[in-house]
């Protein structure tokens, strides 16, 4: 007997392809972004169906939510002209050939991949008691492969650095009406509580620093949009410090672990959970500040090189 979920899965897969195509084929940038956010939500449903709630949470919060906000913010700063109806044929042809090559490579990799059923599950499962946490995803991200996570934070810090160096058009805040203040009064405290909950939950169940940071960052964006907090230039140093503290703290942890155990990012035995929680809490605050700072951008100071 076939699984009754197959109807849902096939609908979801077709919907994903359709929304992806509509987004790419759209001539209007706003429409394109909204469809892209919809694609993110459908993709996160797909991750739920693949039994990967951690990825689903991250995709919904970061892929659909924060990325969508950043794209809309960028659109508002662009002087947008509707795209010319026809793309130059050579460009379309080259893009088509390259896409085909990537698809072929993925298909070949999928066919040649050894033993799809197990993956890293067995290796991770065997070492879970050394990780300090009970959620295997957090164990991989913050302990077994924390080097990868460190590099992800480097990428995020680099992105913010580039935005700050290039400068961006100041955000055009419009009055949002009398209802926005009560809304912010409810949403901002709740976002802080939920971020803390997601962070704490990451040790045992789906959740963790990035999801928590996305929620916290969104709360910060609500504050900025509602003009409850106006990032002044004199706050710049403090904001940059908070944004850098995640990467800095992680690097310090790596150096500290190197001194204490002789291995980079191997936490002292028995104290793994404390190390992971401290790193994750720092990351949450720092990544949230980074996301909000990316949203606000920075105006270039005139008269300086």
């Amino acid at each position: 007997m076939t699984d009754p979920w197959i109807v849902f899965d096939v609908t979801l897969a077709v919907g994903l392809l359709a929304v992806a195509w509509l987004s790419l084929a759209s001539r209007d940038a706003f429409r394109m972004i909204v469809l892209f956010m919809m694609f993110g939500l459908l993709a996160s449903l797909g991750w739920v169906r693949l039994n990967a709630p951690d990825v689903a949470l991250a995709e919904a919060a970061v892929g659909a939510g924060i990325t969508g906000a950043l794209l809309l913010r960028t659109l508002s700063a662009l002087r947008h002209e509707p795209k010319e109806p026809s793309t130059a044929l050579p460009t379309a042809f080259i893009a088509g050939v390259l896409s085909l090559m990537i698809t072929t490579a993925l298909v070949v990799a999928f066919i040649l991949a050894p033993d799809l059923a197990t993956g890293y599950d067995r290796d991770v499962g065997a070492r879970m008691d050394q990780s300090g946490v009970t959620n295997p995803v957090t164990a991989v991200l913050l302990n077994f492969r924390s080097y990868d996570t460190l590099l992800e934070i480097v990428v995020l810090a680099a992105a913010l650095t580039i935005v700050l160096m290039l400068g961006s058009k100041p955000i055009a805040l419009r009055p949002l009406g009398p209802l926005f203040v009560p809304f912010a009064k409810v949403i901002v405290p709740v976002s802080i509580i939920i971020a803390g909950y997601l962070l704490w939950l990451g040790a045992s169940r789906p959740g963790g620093a990035f999801q928590a940071a996305a929620v916290l960052g969104a709360g910060g964006i609500v504050l900025i949009l509602g003009r409850h907090y106006d990032p002044q230039e004199r706050h710049g140093g403090m904001i940059r410090l908070i944004c850098a503290i995640g990467l800095g703290g992680f690097v310090l942890a790596a150096i500290g672990a190197q001194i204490l155990t002789g291995d980079m990012l191997r936490y002292p035995q028995g104290q793994e959970k404390i190390w992971i929680i401290i790193i994750e809490a720092t990351l949450t605050v720092s990544v949230a500040a980074t996301l909000a700072a990316l949203f606000v951008g920075a105006t270039r100071r005139e008269g300086r090189p």
């Binding site: 949002l176 009406g177 209802l179 926005f180 809304f183 409810v186 949403i187 709740v190």
Partner: protein, 94 residues
């Protein structure tokens, strides 16, 4: 099928009806304001019913409380979102 399950599925089915009605409203209504009217009602009431249904079926107080919080947050965000879109549309019109 127990009474709780029957009630839960019934509430979720009723919620789905509201979602369908809201979707039809978005597709069929002529302007921004009537579309907003359709979609905010559908979201709040439909999601409330679905959350109530799932809450009854899980029979776990903590999970039910979390579902209630999810509903509350979406209701608040939906209301403010609808308000902001309507404000924007009204200003563009005049």
């Amino acid at each position: 099928m127990s009474w709780a399950e029957l009630l839960g599925v019934g509430l979720m089915g009723l919620g789905a009806v509201f979602f369908v009605a809201g979707t039809v409203g978005i597709l069929r209504f002529p302007d921004v304001f009537s579309r907003l009217h359709a979609v905010t009602k559908a979201d709040n009431l439909g999601l409330g019913l679905v959350a109530a249904g799932t809450g009854i079926m899980t029979a776990d107080g903590f999970v039910a409380a979390k579902l209630a919080l999810v509903w509350l947050l979406i209701a608040v965000s939906g209301a403010i979102g609808g308000h902001l879109i309507a404000r924007h549309a009204l200003r563009d019109k005049t």
